[in-house]
């Protein structure tokens, strides 16, 4: 086009010039590749679902819903059910959530509400982050050789004196629910603490000022103003911590005892979906692999629901603080 006004500008000044054709091509190509990579995440999730689902399909067709309600896992009879594993997964995660939640929120309060000097708080935060950096298999090892021997005297005493109480109805012979849930609690504590700390920190200073201006003591300010204000963030922390507990594998495979039974006793061995996969997969073949894939789908569904719930609560919290609503 002869009438391009930039042509004349181009000749008038030797430095300025339009990007070359290869610049344009490179730009388009780069943007396409980046787009493809963003799309890849979507494709990957779909592919994961399709691959695991496809492998699980024969077992799904054969066992149907009775897989969820069945209580035996018998390779020789070809009888597969995961109710004890679902129970064990939920029970261990709830116990861990109870402990890890209380401690996690307490630590978040401890770190954000002026109990210790800011520099000491930073040290403590590093300690909590280090807790998160220790691999789960190391926690498993620690659980076997430190925690279980430590728990046994107490567990035996509780069983002997309070054995009529369902929680203590069996003795701790090595691995069991209590050590597993304790280690789980330690593992989710950093998650709960970190997200709760964020929730407390997001509260503007003026809210704290308002509370103290009304004549609250520190704990009245924390319990009546700061906690309610941070509550949705803390809820998200708890749900995400719960999600993490549900999927934790190695420490549980090493500590829970891999026993196919449903019991409320804290000292009885149990099993979870993830540790079922971990302990049975390497030696499985044929229909058992398909059944394990089915169990993986069940685990995926449970964690998906819990995580989406956690993300939604977290999103709601952020929106609340951005002033919408």
């Amino acid at each position: 086009m002869a009438s391009d006004p930039f042509q004349s500008a181009d000749t008038a000044n030797a430095v300025s010039g339009p990007p070359s054709a290869s610049d344009y091509a490179g730009d388009a190509l780069f943007r396409f590749i980046a787009y493809a990579c963003a799309l890849l995440i979507v494709v990957l999730v779909a592919y994961i679902l399709w691959k695991i689902g496809g492998q699980a399909l024969p077992a799904m067709q054969e066992f149907g819903p009775s897989f969820i309600t069945g209580t035996t896992w018998d390779v020789s009879k070809g009888d597969y059910g995961v109710l004890p594993e679902i129970w064990g997964t939920l029970y261990s995660s709830l116990l861990a959530l109870l402990l890890g939640g209380i401690f996690g929120v307490a630590i978040a309060i401890f770190l954000t509400q002026g109990f210790i000097h800011a520099r000491l708080a930073a040290v403590f935060r590093t300690i909590v982050e280090l807790l998160a950096a220790i691999p789960s298999v190391v926690y498993g090892l620690w659980g076997i050789y430190v925690l279980i021997p430590l728990l046994r005297p107490t567990a035996d005493w509780l069983h002997e004196t309070l054995g009529w109480f369902p929680l203590f109805s069996s003795s701790l012979n090595g691995p069991g629910m209590a050590p597993a849930a304790l280690v789980l609690a330690i593992m989710i504590l950093p998650t709960v603490a970190a997200i709760s700390v964020d929730a407390f920190r997001r509260i503007p200073y003026k809210v704290k000022e308002a509370a103290y201006g009304m004549g609250t003591t520190r704990w009245e300010a924390i319990l009546k103003v700061m906690l309610p204000t941070a509550s949705s963030g803390i809820l998200a922390a708890l749900v995400l911590g719960f999600g993490r507990a549900l999927g934790e594998t190695m420490a549980l495979a090493m500590l829970i005892g891999n026993s196919n039974q449903i019991s409320v006793s804290l000292f009885a061995p149990a099993n979870t979906l993830a540790s079922l996969l971990a302990s049975n997969f390497p030696e499985a073949s044929g229909i058992e692999v398909e059944a394990l894939m089915y169990a993986a789908m069940v685990l995926l569904a449970i964690t998906f629901v819990v995580n989406v719930l956690g993300l939604m609560i977290q999103q709601m919290t952020m929106r609340k603080f951005e002033g919408k609503k």
Binding site: E220, K224, K320
Partner: protein
């Protein structure tokens, strides 16, 4: 310009309040760490009046106001030397619990700061905090009425306090502060975040509130001080020692301070020669 500490003491001494003094602030020094923020200022607060604090930015007027209910205790490096008596008790005394002080001496802040709870719960907060046993609904309604907010929110008491406009939020904060019937209400530039219409409403509200409460008001707006304050305290900044130390230059009847200031510095400030 004569800005020695002695001069400041002299001028402060010149003001002798006629009415009953509810709070008497005889401050010697306020430090933030090593930084001397305010020195030697005597500020008596009279019952049933509005005492305005004016002065250029950095003169410590907010700092002085905030030391009247020990809000500054929240800042670690804050240090107060001197005496603030509230009805004869030194609120900086060793045995005094700052929490209790703040229950009798309420505060409204620069930024509206409602809690993220319902309008009703915001106002009822102080009542519940003080374990009020009577009719909470009635008290909340009365506080909202006195804060001139009742008509606007009476149908949506369950909505979040954060859903209100800026001016409404500030009146909500005033309602929250007066629901427990504190003796003294400290207001730290309560209109600085508000538009002119909302400012007008808050000012009218202050004039009504002084019938029942004693008010102290920090403002950066001289017109506001002229409109609402009975007594005005003018703070200046002393940069002679190298730092920026605030001190009370002059205090007196608002009309006097604005129309016939005793100090040259005051005259320059109220004439708008610096700000």
């Amino acid at each position: 310009m004569n800005a020695t500490p002695e001069a400041a003491l002299d001028t402060a001494a010149q003001f002798s309040p006629q009415g009953e003094v509810v709070m008497d602030c005889k401050l010697d020094k306020i430090f933030y760490g090593d930084f001397l923020a305010v020195r030697s200022s005597d500020v008596p607060i009279e019952k049933g009046k509005i005492t305005g604090f004016i002065g250029p930015s950095g003169c410590g007027k907010s700092t002085v106001l905030r030391s009247l209910n020990r809000m500054n205790d929240l800042i670690d490096i804050f240090r107060f030397e001197g005496k603030v008596t509230y009805k004869g008790q030194d609120i900086y005394g060793k045995k005094i619990d700052p929490v209790v002080v703040r229950r009798y001496i309420g505060m409204v802040f620069q930024q509206p700061n409602p809690f993220s709870m319902s309008i009703f719960d915001n106002v009822a907060f102080g009542l519940r905090l003080n374990r009020f046993k009577g009719n909470i609904e009635e008290k909340v309604e009365k506080a909202l009425q006195r804060a001139a907010l009742w008509n606007e929110v009476k149908d949506k008491l369950k909505n979040s306090g954060l859903s209100l406009s800026g001016g409404q939020q500030q009146r909500l904060c005033i309602a929250r502060a007066i629901a427990t019937e504190p003796d003294v209400l400290l207001m730290d530039e309560p209109c600085s975040a508000l538009d002119p219409i909302a400012t007008r409403q808050i000012e009218e509200l202050m004039l009504e509130l002084k019938e029942r409460y004693t008010l102290a008001l920090v403002t950066h707006n001289m017109q506001q001080a002229m409109r609402v304050a009975d007594t005005t305290a003018f703070f200046g900044v002393d940069i002679s020692a190298g730092g920026r130390t605030g001190y009370l230059v002059e205090m007196g009847n608002t009309k006097e301070v604005f129309e016939n200031p005793q100090e040259e510095l005051t005259r320059q400030y109220v004439a708008g020669e610096f700000s």
